[in-house]
Symmetry: C2
Subunit: 585 residues, 2 copies
Amino acid sequence: MPTLRLALCQVNPTVGDLAGNAGLVRSWSRQAADAGAQLVLFPELMLTGYPVEDLVFRRSFVAASRAALHRLAADLAADGLGDLPVMVGYLDADGPPQVSADAQPGRGARNAAAVLHRGEVVATYFKHHLPNYGVFDEDRYFVPGDTLTVVRVGGVDVALTICEDLWQAGGPFAVAREAGVGLVLSINASPYELNKDDVRLPLVRRRAAEAGAPIAYVNMVGGQDELVYDGDSMIVTADGTLLTRAPQFVEHLLVHDLELPAAGTPGGTGALTDGMRVVRHEIPAIPAAPTGPAADGGIIEPVADEAEVWHALVLGLRDYIDKNRFPSVVLGLSGGIDSAVAAAIAVDAVGPDRVVGVSMPSQHSSEHSRTDAEDLAKRTGLDYRVEPIQPMVDTFLANMSLSGVAVENLQARVRGVILMALSNQEGHLVLTTGNKSELAVGYSTLYGDSVGGYNPVKDVWKTLVWRLAKWRNADAVRRGQTPPIPENSIGKPPSAELSPGQLDSDTLPDYDVLDPILIGYVDGDLGRDGLVESGHDPAVVDKVLRMVDTAEYKRRQSAPGTKISMKAFGRDRRLPITNRWREDG
Amino acid sequence: MPTLRLALCQVNPTVGDLAGNAGLVRSWSRQAADAGAQLVLFPELMLTGYPVEDLVFRRSFVAASRAALHRLAADLAADGLGDLPVMVGYLDADGPPQVSADAQPGRGARNAAAVLHRGEVVATYFKHHLPNYGVFDEDRYFVPGDTLTVVRVGGVDVALTICEDLWQAGGPFAVAREAGVGLVLSINASPYELNKDDVRLPLVRRRAAEAGAPIAYVNMVGGQDELVYDGDSMIVTADGTLLTRAPQFVEHLLVHDLELPAAGTPGGTGALTDGMRVVRHEIPAIPAAPTGPAADGGIIEPVADEAEVWHALVLGLRDYIDKNRFPSVVLGLSGGIDSAVAAAIAVDAVGPDRVVGVSMPSQHSSEHSRTDAEDLAKRTGLDYRVEPIQPMVDTFLANMSLSGVAVENLQARVRGVILMALSNQEGHLVLTTGNKSELAVGYSTLYGDSVGGYNPVKDVWKTLVWRLAKWRNADAVRRGQTPPIPENSIGKPPSAELSPGQLDSDTLPDYDVLDPILIGYVDGDLGRDGLVESGHDPAVVDKVLRMVDTAEYKRRQSAPGTKISMKAFGRDRRLPITNRWREDG
């Protein structure tokens, strides 16, 4: 049995940065070569980043991706890495877009992978299964491939696949078995969701069994707008053994030796699954097998849910800030739990020197709203400021006749104006900090506390915000560091402090009651009857669902934020604003 | 040859209002029966409205649609309309959603049509071609049908089709020919785009030729969030003759007699196009052929582009206001062309008593900014108010150290706070009035002039805003009415008036230069080289493209507005915020 040393490059490309992403491939291929690798993998759409969305329709962009691929092949050879086969995702076009006389805007592009060798593109593969659910719109963009590409590398037949191919039975992996391959490569841009790592390993196992061959699975890492890729790259054998697994949320080079069957007589010439064909290539020579001890990538165990989510939120925010080249962020500090957690995430993401926290007290603000904010600032070291809002609020009130909710919202909107003024004056990205529960029921002021370019806790239910705060503080204690979040912010009852003595519980059910209803309705698409059958109080269900339904217009104008759940607000959940459907009739 | 009297009901349902929409079917079927109709058609997804988006995933909603359909059949019979066959669009489920162990959230629903007769659902059809481009995401929601349903009505074989089926060759219309039908019914929810009516008629002609049979095409009318359906229902013969055509943008009952071939020996038993099957039903009896003169629906000629767009914008806004049950709207009046046109649209939509216009002068406001706003108010009769912003601006400036663009934006944001305060206090929907050119280049203040729940001119290029203003005024003169828009608002150079002597032309190319570049880049997906080849100045192109690319974050939080172009900002054009791709490298 030949042995191949694989290098899975779990890296962090940036959407649209073709030159930068190609540079990553070159530098990581160099590291892989230094580690003795004989076959190197990079993630799906490595050259363009993922998702590029409607950039796919820009011919100039597709052409640039193709040109970058060929330049990369030449550059790798010039780097002295020509013999090392490198599999990399890129955007391709297979002829002009499909536009007929009965014309609908045509898909013509391909979600593609290439194997580069000796300065050439020696093999390509087009993704067969296209996801068009959740956050994915690939039927909008791509034509599916109908060919399995098999490349003989070091005497082993290796099949190429891309991401969604793995998530459906009966496609390229079944064909890989029919073709008798010894190894399947799977390159991915698979966004993080809480518990997805628990799904991924069994999935890879099922598909390895289907292919009758081991799978080398490499995933992207890093943030892209609302998505964060968690890595979690791995190699699994046909019998389901996990050989090696990379950590989540960090760039990582996973190098591992695999004993593989020598290629025999090629199969896959009869009628194949899904009507696919098999196309074969052979790479004449690869780097010699390294001497010395076998490479073992090791197995990283998954961490606790709270740790996982925290790392996801930190990475998602950091990459939004840095990939968009913001020098710093600014956010309002109310002394409450949401802004405290958001500030702690921001400090973990970019350091306290790049985080400005602003306390904006009003006449309704409690003493602790300011002292807790100040405490947070001391604990984290962020740049702390105080901007009282009462003079501006009073001027509005002196010039307009306002009462009730108009006065409440006015205070939040003056705070929004202050944060945006600081942003315009000093260049900060404004962070908004409404949690998922608030966003769901519309418990926020549009253009007030919702002001901001990014929301680190957008997809975090309120009850999870509290759990994250406790975990982060406990983790600090474990490390011998100062817990960043004031205990008082965790313990006190939530309040918007927009009117005297106001508490969230005046308007909303307790979050312990609210969140399970919201999770069933939003994440689970349960209707009223399903929720009542689950044991929730019908009157509370009716009230909550009505709040969710009528807040759609606010969500439509909300800032992006990191997706961590199976269904985040945003492109993951698409509902009309104008909508008379009410679950209670 | 039998003669059938068809009634095409071009009506305006509301998303989610199952009972209300069923009520429309009953009342319009009654009118159709009174006109002697023997076969009645309603639009695609008539019972649920269109698009219902992720409501499709709510089992409670799909079940309610099915229940409403059966109740409607019974109600029509109870209304004494049982003999009259009624074709109506509804949402169906064909078994449980497709969820496998390798589970992705499954599509399981059907975009369906039913024929109701004598209290029963006698035939159903599932849409075969699913659009997944532009504003459409039907691959996300629906399983395509693979059966052509043919119903014998009054001795004529009639095939059922739905919307997108018409836009692609080689599907149900080819099968209809193979099945030897005498008539094809096409029910639609086809959103308006400028010039789409010029596409639609030739398309129906091609498909009628393909089917070898006449097509009765009925389209929805009315606004739904960003979409507006224009009607434009018609009947076209196999040889391409347009027999009758309904007006756009109004509800309309189109009644027309058609001589049709008697059904012969059924065809369609061999191998059929697209692997489709044919299923046949027969309706035993329909209302007797009416005596008296033949019914002729007449042919409405298309109107000029400006009139068409104006009507689209008025209907889109009116339905957003009324379907969401807003009592009134409020908008800022700057004396400029955008707010003047938006106000005139609002007055046309809901009348001057439901429109509040607010002049919000600052120290940089010109005298004409107020007098032109006042003139507009007088011409239209809207509720006019003046709210000077300087006291609030001065208070912010006294409490913060701001300069430059921070001060400019502050003024716009104080205006946003005022409009939202009026909205909270008095219940108005706030209209924002940034045109498509401004939205494209980001020439607006986030949370300032962009504040609002709806934007009537969101998809209107600045040069078209001017054309619309001139057309609306000229149309008023033709009708002997007062032109609503002050000539001075049309004639003066555009300015944001946020700093002394400021003009749009300080920052932007002339709109005559800017708009063609934007149209090529946004609507046409041309890259830099394509634009330069079209004759645009490379330096201007580079500047404009960079502005468009870096304004994506503003558009992401912008209000919805009526789509009138082939590519509107919003779901029609999906681009990443984090995006390093620049056309000029």
